[in-house]
């Protein structure tokens, strides 16, 4: 079912000159605006939730709130992560809830550059149906 996402930090349109958190998935580099990022944690197994979209790994508790983990490889139609490979989670705030993006690794914080693909979280969330 489509989820309507209110205009909020995570879904704000990308502004190239703002700082972004850069991260890698399958050898490619992506970015999300730093304003909406709360923290970056090590990936751990998530609890599966019945009826969730297949791009949702599950939920993990973090600092008293539940974080929904989104498997970005599935979202972006990239090949699955090799077993045993390390992964990290970028935790975003989104209208009071917490969304966690599962990525291979985080590179750093910088303004956007040409080879980096900015992610539109709003579109990702709409695709979670």
């Amino acid at each position: 079912m489509p989820i309507s996402v209110p205009e909020d930090d995570a879904a704000a349109p990308a502004n190239a000159s703002r700082d972004h958190v850069l991260f890698r998935i399958a050898g490619r580099e992506f970015a999300v605006p730093v304003d909406s990022v709360i923290e970056i944690v090590r990936h751990r197994d998530a609890t599966r939730v019945p009826g969730a979209a297949r791009t949702v790994e599950g939920i993990i508790p973090l600092r008293g709130q539940m974080v929904t983990l989104l498997d970005l490889r599935l979202c972006l139609a990239l090949p699955p992560r090799p077993s045993g490979a390390a992964a990290q989670v970028i935790v975003l705030r989104s209208a009071g809830d917490r969304l966690g993006l599962v990525v291979d690794g985080v590179s750093g914080v910088a303004p956007l550059s040409n080879h980096v693909v900015p992610l539109d979280i709003g579109t990702l969330l709409q695709g979670m149906s």
Binding site: D45, T47, V49, A52, I59, P61
Partner: protein, 675 residues
């Protein structure tokens, strides 16, 4: 409150908010005014009641000003002025009481007009003028203690009870009192004020910070009421922002106190006179913050416990590690107590709600022409504030329902040889982790044939089938049965019993009804005392764990495989008192999983949960332990999940789904359940 999109929706919201707040306050003021009349006739002291009226007027003025109702704000401002003069010792007279009644009536009328959608109400200007005239005519005796005559009236009247008691206390200790006007830089308002507060704190006490409504809008001006042990000098406060300093009172030589006990008695008496209270208003959010810190601590301790256990396993003979466990247990016990304390801080007595209901009963009875006696029991039973807030609307509806439809008119009651006055009982008591609330009336009861007829007419019941009493009692809760389009005069809107039941279920509670035709009806509502910490059983199913709230558990069964059979709706367990649908939790997670059920892999236990005739046996492989869990919302990205109340952190950094057995349906885990 400015908003580019603002217009009607914003305005309507303000209106609703104002009406809701004003209603409640005006009710309280009606009570206070009635009491004031009684006390005035008896010739007794009435300062407390004047104070109550003042605070109410002050609050309404604030709401009216902020939410955009200037006429009401002006009227309540004039009322405030009149009450201020009475507070300061002016004499109350009969014609002032009449004026207060008129004012209250006008306010009630204005709010009622607003509520029914008309934006215009009779002009309040003339009434404001009358109030101003009456206020000017009141003489205030100049017999205040010498220490406070210099204090401007408006400042004195704006002090809260607590501030007044602090003021008296400082004066009686021989402090100097000064009124300092400051004009801080708007760019660093907080810092400037904090700086001043700190400096004052070194010299004495900052009693009050009062914003001044000034002529110029570019800067915000404050009057600070400062009590100091020595007279203030120019260097004491930052010169840049101090505009004016006025000495109000120098200490009056006081006779040496006879002893510490006498001084204490004097101060206590002063506190009593001013009505200083022993309680504080605390925003609920602040308590929630404390509670969430305690939860975080609990999780950290659970991790510590695990680590200590692991260390102990590795070094079973080591003495110091052996010491750790009992120490940890002490810490956990103290934490438990702290957790309970934080939860109990949010508990409020049901009394508030019962009194509100009491007022509504009077109105409802008059509106429907019935005579009702209301009895309340157990008003001091405590319940979590948010549970009470959620309970208020359904409870009110049950009571109004009992008056509108349950209790008969006085004539009909006499015809049935019943006492003319109908009896309504509201009772509450605590039972374990729950509060049980009964709404009892001695009215006509639930007429089965009538219900049957209405149900057939609405297509909810086959015409040729006889309805049992239990079925009739269940039918009234069905959506579509209640005539939601009907509007009762009291509640102002039609609300069906299905909405009542859903509201109570949202609080993780339940409602049942017992009734005898012609004799009366009892609705029993059971809600948990607190939603924060839920006692639950952690269970294992496959490789996942789940938590099931104990409040939903009826019994635990050891499954006998021979009694399990398949049906088109899933597995059924044969029991002497009827078949029990079984639910396999792993099906919950992968509903499409598997064709034929392999009964050999069926779990060993079934937790029988649910109520009100909708029992289900949740099959599990094992019971892990009993634990109190804090149920957190899963997050909006996952939509609405029937059967899941939320998720909890058990202390090992993984989330465990907390089930809501009331909304689980075996065999159709994704179906949405109707009432």
């Amino acid at each position: 409150m400015s908003d580019e999109r603002s217009g009607r929706p914003e305005r309507e919201h303000s209106l609703r908010e104002f009406v809701a707040e004003a209603d409640e306050i005006l009710e309280a003021l009606s009570d206070a005014l009635r009491d004031l009349e009684a006390v005035f006739e008896a010739g007794g002291p009435h300062l407390d009641l004047i104070n109550t009226l003042f605070r109410g007027a002050h609050t309404i003025k604030g709401f009216a000003a902020v939410l955009g109702f200037p006429e009401i704000a002006s009227l309540t401002h004039a009322l405030e002025d009149l009450l201020t003069r009475l507070r300061l010792g002016g004499t109350l007279e009969g014609k002032i009481l009449d004026l207060l009644h008129d004012t209250l009536d006008s306010l009630l009328g204005a709010v009622s007009d607003l509520r029914s959608g008309s934006a215009v109400f009779p002009a309040l200007g003339p009434l404001s003028d009358r109030l101003a005239g009456a206020a000017a005519a009141i003489i205030i005796p100049q017999n205040e203690s010498p220490g406070t005559t210099g204090l401007p009236e408006r400042v004195r009247a704006s002090l809260t009870e607590y501030e007044e008691s602090r003021l008296q206390r400082c004066l009686s200790r021989g402090f100097h009192l000064a009124l300092v006007r400051v004009r801080p830089d708007p760019q660093c308002l907080e810092e400037d004020l904090q700086d001043v507060a700190r400096r004052v704190g070194e010299l004495g006490e900052l009693i009050s910070t009062l914003p001044v409504v000034g002529e110029r809008d570019d800067r915000i001006v404050f009057d600070l009421l400062v009590a100091s042990s020595r007279p203030l000098s120019d260097d004491d406060l930052p010169r840049a922002i101090v505009e004016d300093r006025r000495l109000i009172a120098a200490p009056v030589p006081v006779a040496a106190p006879a002893g510490p006990s006498q001084e204490r008695d004097g101060m206590d008496a002063a506190a009593d006179r001013l009505g200083a209270t022993l309680s504080l208003r605390v925003p609920v959010a602040r308590l929630d913050e404390v509670l969430s810190q305690v939860d975080a601590l609990s999780i950290a301790l659970a991790s510590l416990e695990r680590e200590i256990g692991a260390v102990r396993e590795g070094h079973p003979d080591d003495h110091s590690t052996r010491q750790m466990e009992p120490l940890l247990r002490i810490v956990l016990a103290r934490l438990r107590t702290l957790q309970r304390g934080a939860i109990e801080a949010r508990l409020v007595p049901l009394d508030q709600e019962f009194r509100k209901v009491g007022r509504a009963v009077g109105r409802a009875a008059r509106a429907s022409g019935k005579e009702i006696d209301l009895h309340t029991l157990g008003a001091d039973t405590e319940i979590d504030k948010s549970v009470m807030d959620g309970l208020a609307p359904p409870l009110m509806h049950l009571v109004v329902n009992a008056i509108d439809h349950g209790i008969e008119s006085p004539e009909e009651r006499e015809r049935r040889s019943k006492p003319r006055r109908g009896q309504l009982v509201l009772s509450a008591f605590r039972r374990g982790p729950s509060v049980v609330i009964d709404v009892i009336d001695d009215g006509r009861g639930i007429a089965i044939r009538e219900i049957e007829g209405a149900a057939v007419a609405r297509g909810l019941w086959p015409a040729n089938r006889e309805m049992s009493r239990d079925e009739a009692h269940e039918m009234i809760f069905r959506p579509g049965f209640s005539t939601a389009s009907r509007v009762t005069t009291v509640s102002g809107r039609g609300v069906g019993m299905d909405v009542v039941r859903r509201a109570i279920r949202a609080l993780k509670g339940s409602i049942v009804v017992r009734s005898a035709e012609g004799r009366g009806t009892t609705f029993t509502v059971i809600v948990p005392i607190s939603l924060a910490l839920v006692p639950a059983i952690v269970v294992r199913s496959g490789d996942q764990r789940f938590a099931i709230p104990i409040a939903s558990i009826r019994e635990n069964l050891r499954l006998d495989g021979t009694r399990v059979r398949e049906s088109e709706r899933g597995l059924i367990y044969e029991r002497p008192d009827g078949p029990l649908p079984l639910l396999r939790l792993e099906r919950l997670l992968s509903p499409a999983g598997g064709g034929a059920t392999d009964l050999t892999t069926l779990g060993r236990y079934a937790i029988v949960a649910g109520g009100e005739g909708r029992k289900v046996g949740i099959v599990v492989d094992g019971l892990v332990r009993r634990q109190e869990v804090v149920v957190k919302p899963i997050g909006r990205f996952l939509g609405d999940l029937p059967g899941i109340a939320g998720a909890a952190d058990l202390g090992d950094a993984t989330a465990v789904l907390v089930l809501d057995p009331e909304t689980l349906m075996p065999g159709e885990p994704n179906a949405h359940i109707g009432a």
